[in-house]
C-alpha cells in the first residue's frame, strides 16, 4: 500500500491544482521539436517518454514510476520565444499487473466469461481531466520543466489581482475557463514572469541514453 501511495503522489505531481478547460494550442499554433522525442528521467526516478504515433503535431507522453505508468497527450506551443507544454492525462496511472489483468478480463468478456471485480485502479482515480501548462527550457541533454507557481496563483485569485476567466470547483482547485486565444495572450504577456512560473524549482529531466 505504501508503494502505491508513493506512486500516486509521484503522478500527482503531474496533475496541477490549476487546470484549464481549454487548451493552450490550436492546430495551427502547435509546434514540434525533434529533440523532445526521447526518454527522460527526473530526479525522483520517474521516466518521461515523449513519442509521436502519427503525423499529428501532438506528442504522447508515457510517465513510468516503478511498474506504474500513465498516458498523457501533449501539445507544444512557442509564444514569444518560450516553449509551453499543454498536458492532458489520457489514461489513469495503472500498474503493469493491473493492465495485464484488465487486458485478460477484456479478452474473457469477448469470449463470454465473467472477469474479476476487484481492482486498484479506483484508488488512483484522483485525476480531474483538464489541461495543465508547463514552461519548457531546453539546455543540451536536459529539459527544464517549470510548473505554474500555484501558491502565487492562488494568492492572486484570492486577492482578485488577476483578471482571467476561471471557476473555483472547490477550495483547492481552480479551473481556468478562458479561451485558447485569451490563454495565449496571457502567456504572451506574462510568459517571462518569474513569479508565475516557479523558476527556482524546475523539474530537470535528463535524457536517458541507451547503452
Amino acid at each position: 500500500m505504501k508503494k502505491i501511495l508513493f506512486v500516486a503522489l509521484l503522478f500527482l505531481v503531474m496533475q496541477s491544482c490549476i487546470t484549464s478547460l481549454y487548451p493552450l494550442y490550436t492546430e495551427n499554433t502547435l509546434v514540434t521539436k525533434k529533440e523532445l522525442v526521447a526518454t527522460w528521467k527526473d530526479k525522483e526516478g520517474m521516466y518521461w517518454k515523449f513519442y509521436q504515433t502519427d503525423k499529428s503535431k501532438k506528442y504522447h507522453l508515457r510517465c513510468r514510476a516503478n511498474n506504474y505508468y500513465a498516458e498523457y497527450e501533449v501539445g507544444m506551443v512557442k509564444i514569444e520565444g518560450n516553449y509551453f507544454l499543454d498536458i492532458v492525462m489520457q489514461e489513469q496511472p495503472i500498474s503493469d499487473e493491473e493492465a495485464a489483468r484488465i487486458k485478460k478480463e477484456e479478452e474473457a468478456q469477448k469470449n463470454g466469461k465473467k472477469g474479476a471485480e476487484n481492482s486498484d485502479v479506483g484508488f488512483l482515480a484522483y485525476n480531474i481531466p483538464g489541461h495543465s501548462f508547463y514552461k519548457l527550457g531546453f539546455k543540451g541533454e536536459k529539459i527544464y520543466v517549470y510548473p505554474f507557481n500555484e501558491d502565487y496563483l492562488k494568492e492572486l485569485f484570492e486577492q482578485r489581482k488577476i483578471r482571467i476567466k476561471h471557476e473555483n470547483t472547490d477550495s483547492s482547485t481552480t479551473v481556468l475557463t478562458a479561451s485558447t486565444k485569451e490563454l495565449q495572450e496571457f502567456f504572451q504577456k506574462y510568459g517571462n514572469d518569474a513569479k508565475l512560473f516557479d523558476s527556482n524549482e524546475p523539474k530537470i529531466l535528463s535524457k536517458v541514453v541507451k547503452k
Binding site: 488577476i162 483578471r163 471557476e167 486565444k181
Partner: protein, 345 residues
C-alpha cells in the same frame, strides 16, 4: 437649483462617464462576482473611450458647421483607429505601471474594441447633436419672444401715434393753422402723414437707416412744437454726419414719448424737453432731458411710466447685447435719460 445642477456641464460629463463606466463594468465583467480588478479594467477602458468622445465633440463643433463632412468622417476614423491603438498600448504596456502587481490582458480583438469605441462615438454624436437641437430650439424661442416684444413695441408705438388725444391735439393744431391760413399747414399735414406711414410700413423692419428713424423723430418733435407753441421749449440737436448706419426702428421714439408723457413745470416754471444725438463712427449717443414738477422713479415697472422703459431695456438686451449703455437719472427738476448704442455701419 436642480435645473442648474442638471445644466452644469461638469455634472453632465460626470453622469455620462458614470453610466458608461457602469455599462462597461457589467458587460466586460469576467466572472459572476464583480471585483476590484473589473473596476480597474473599466477605468482603463474609459481612457480610449474618452479619447474618442472628446475628439468627436471637438471635431463635430469645428467641422460640422462648416459642412466639412468628408474631413469629419476621415478624422473620426483616424480617432477610432488611434483609440484602438490606445487600448492596446494601455493593456499591453502601461497597465503594469499603472496597477503594479495586477495581471491584465487586452481580452478583446481589435474588431471588438473598434465596435465598442464606435458605440461611444455614436452615443456622443447623438448626445451632441440632440444638445445642439435643444440649443437651437431655445434660440428659436428667444427669437420668437423677441419678435413678440418687437411686435408689441410696434403696436405700442402705433397706439401712441394713433392715440386719440395725439390725433385730436394735432388735428386741432392743424385746424388752428388752417384757420389762420398759416403756410405751415400743408407741411404739418405732410409730417403727420409721413409719421403714420413710417410707423405702418417701416416700423416692422428689423433695421432701418438711422437717418430715416431720425427724420421720423424730427417730425414728431416738430408736430409737438406746433402743438405746444411757445408754451414749451423744445430742442433736438442732431449731428450724425454722413455715415450710413442701421438701427432698430422706433427705439429712440420710446424715450422721446416717455419725455412727452412725463414733462412738467419745474420749480423755476420752466417747461422743456432737450435732446442731443451724436454719432461718432459706429457709436450713437442719445441724451434726453425733460423738466419735471416732482422727481420720478428711474424705472417703475408696474406703472405706465415704467413699462415703456422696461420694454426698451428688454429690447436693447435682445437687439444690442453687450453693445448698449442705458441709464436714467432723476433730480428734483429734471429727468435725464442716456442711451449709447454700437450700430452696424
Amino acid at each position: 437649483m436642480i435645473s442648474a445642477i442638471v445644466q452644469n456641464q461638469v455634472f453632465q460629463h460626470l453622469l455620462f462617464w458614470t453610466l458608461a463606466g457602469f455599462i462597461i463594468f457589467r458587460i466586460t465583467a469576467y466572472n459572476a462576482e464583480l471585483t476590484l480588478t473589473d473596476f480597474y479594467y473599466t477605468l482603463l477602458f474609459l481612457i480610449p473611450a474618452s479619447w474618442v468622445v472628446y475628439w468627436n465633440i471637438a471635431l463635430i463643433e469645428r467641422l460640422l458647421p462648416k459642412h466639412q463632412y468628408w474631413k469629419l468622417l476621415l478624422t473620426i476614423l483616424l480617432v477610432l483607429v488611434t483609440g484602438v491603438g490606445w487600448y492596446y498600448l494601455i493593456m499591453n504596456y502601461l497597465v503594469d505601471s499603472i496597477f503594479p502587481g495586477y495581471y491584465f490582458i487586452s481580452y478583446y480583438q481589435p474588431g471588438t474594441i473598434l465596435v465598442f469605441l464606435s458605440g461611444f462615438w455614436l452615443l456622443s454624436t447623438l448626445l451632441n447633436l440632440s444638445k445642439g437641437w435643444f440649443r437651437e430650439q431655445e434660440q428659436k424661442q428667444q427669437i420668437q419672444l423677441l419678435e413678440k416684444q418687437k411686435t408689441q413695441a410696434e403696436l405700442d408705438a402705433l397706439k401712441a401715434q394713433l392715440d386719440p388725444h395725439f390725433l385730436f391735439n394735432n388735428l386741432n393744431s392743424l385746424y388752428s393753422l388752417a384757420l389762420e391760413k398759416d403756410p405751415k399747414t400743408p407741411e404739418a399735414i405732410l409730417k403727420l402723414s409721413e409719421n403714420l406711414r413710417y410707423v405702418l410700413y417701416e416700423g416692422g423692419a428689423p433695421e432701418v437707416e438711422l437717418k430715416q428713424d431720425l427724420q421720423h423723430l424730427l417730425n414728431y418733435f416738430q408736430l409737438q412744437k406746433w402743438r405746444f407753441g411757445e408754451e414749451m421749449q423744445l430742442d433736438l440737436d442732431i449731428q450724425v454726419g454722413e455715415n450710413s448706419c442701421q438701427i432698430a426702428p422706433l427705439l429712440l421714439l420710446t424715450l422721446v414719448e416717455n419725455s412727452f408723457k412725463h414733462v412738467g413745470r419745474n420749480r423755476s416754471g420752466q417747461y422743456a424737453i432737450k435732446g442731443k444725438i451724436r454719432l461718432q463712427e459706429e457709436k450713437l449717443s442719445f441724451s434726453l432731458q425733460n423738466t419735471i414738477n416732482q422727481p420720478v422713479e428711474v424705472v417703475k415697472p408696474h406703472t405706465n411710466s415704467g413699462i415703456g422703459l422696461v420694454n426698451l431695456q428688454k429690447r436693447l438686451e435682445i437687439l444690442y447685447p453687450e453693445r448698449y449703455y442705458f441709464n436714467t437719472l432723476s433730480t428734483s427738476d429734471e429727468f435725464i435719460a442716456k442711451l449709447e448704442l454700437r450700430l452696424k455701419l
